[in-house]
């Protein structure tokens, strides 16, 4: 199945891309997707920071099971204000 990934801020710069479409096996979790992306984008791997996960604009846990067409965002530490 296919999911859509969006990168923001420091992760967008490290990945060198704002979006990616990723083919993953059924039932993959957000955490597993992150592992796969680190292989596609090795520059993501040295990111040592607290990441949150969002699917379809809601925060989820790393064990959240993805579905076809989900929009996934890995949220680096926010710093609005």
């Amino acid at each position: 199945m296919k999911v859509k990934v969006k990168f923001f801020a420091i992760l967008r710069e490290r990945a060198g891309a704002a979006e990616a479409a990723k083919e993953i096996r059924e039932g993959s979790t957000v955490g597993e997707l992150w592992e796969l992306l680190q292989r596609d984008y090795p520059q993501l791997a040295p990111v040592r920071m607290r990441l949150l996960y969002a699917v379809n604009q809601d925060y989820v846990n790393a064990d959240y099971a993805l579905k076809e067409g989900d929009e996934v965002v890995f949220v680096p530490p926010v710093s609005g204000g």
Binding site: K6, F8, R50, Y53, Q57, G80, G81
Partner: protein
């Protein structure tokens, strides 16, 4: 009104939005770009957002504030893109029958924005730039 915008924020628009005949107080907070941070000379801040989710999270925290305090109306507008020294990056306006609720809810809103709303600031300073908030910490699931 919960919005992310590339344009300068209009304080009067927010005040007008929260103006309410049953309100005895309107509290506003304006976050502005400071010319220094941790010893660095700041030139500007450059904000980025996940806009759809940021607006959703702003609305969510507005609803949470409405559960915790007796407020009438709330408006939050956060600017993205470059924000120059002295310019507002975020404005919050809250109306309530009584001032204590308006002050508390406004304080809550700005603190929550800094914790959970997907907006990031890059500090552009003399000699470099840095994404604020990413310098330290451990990878951890929420």
């Amino acid at each position: 009104m919960f919005r992310v915008t590339r344009n300068a924020i209009d304080l009067q628009e927010l005040v007008a939005f929260v103006t309410d005949p049953e309100a005895g107080a309107i509290v506003t907070f304006i976050g502005t770009t400071r010319n220094n941070n941790e010893g660095r000379k700041v030139i500007a801040l450059d904000y980025e957002a996940y806009p759809e989710m940021a607006e959703k999270e702003l609305k969510r925290l507005g609803e949470e504030a409405g559960k915790r305090w007796r407020i009438r109306r709330m408006a939050i507008v956060h600017r993205i893109g470059p924000v120059q020294i002295t310019e507002p990056s975020v404005i919050i306006a809250v109306s309530a029958a009584h001032r204590a609720d308006a002050f508390e809810a406004c304080r809550f809103a700005i603190e929550e924005i800094k914790k959970s709303v997907p907006i990031w600031k890059k500090e552009v300073f003399e000699g470099g730039e840095v994404w604020i908030g990413t310098q330290s910490g451990q990878p951890l699931n929420r």
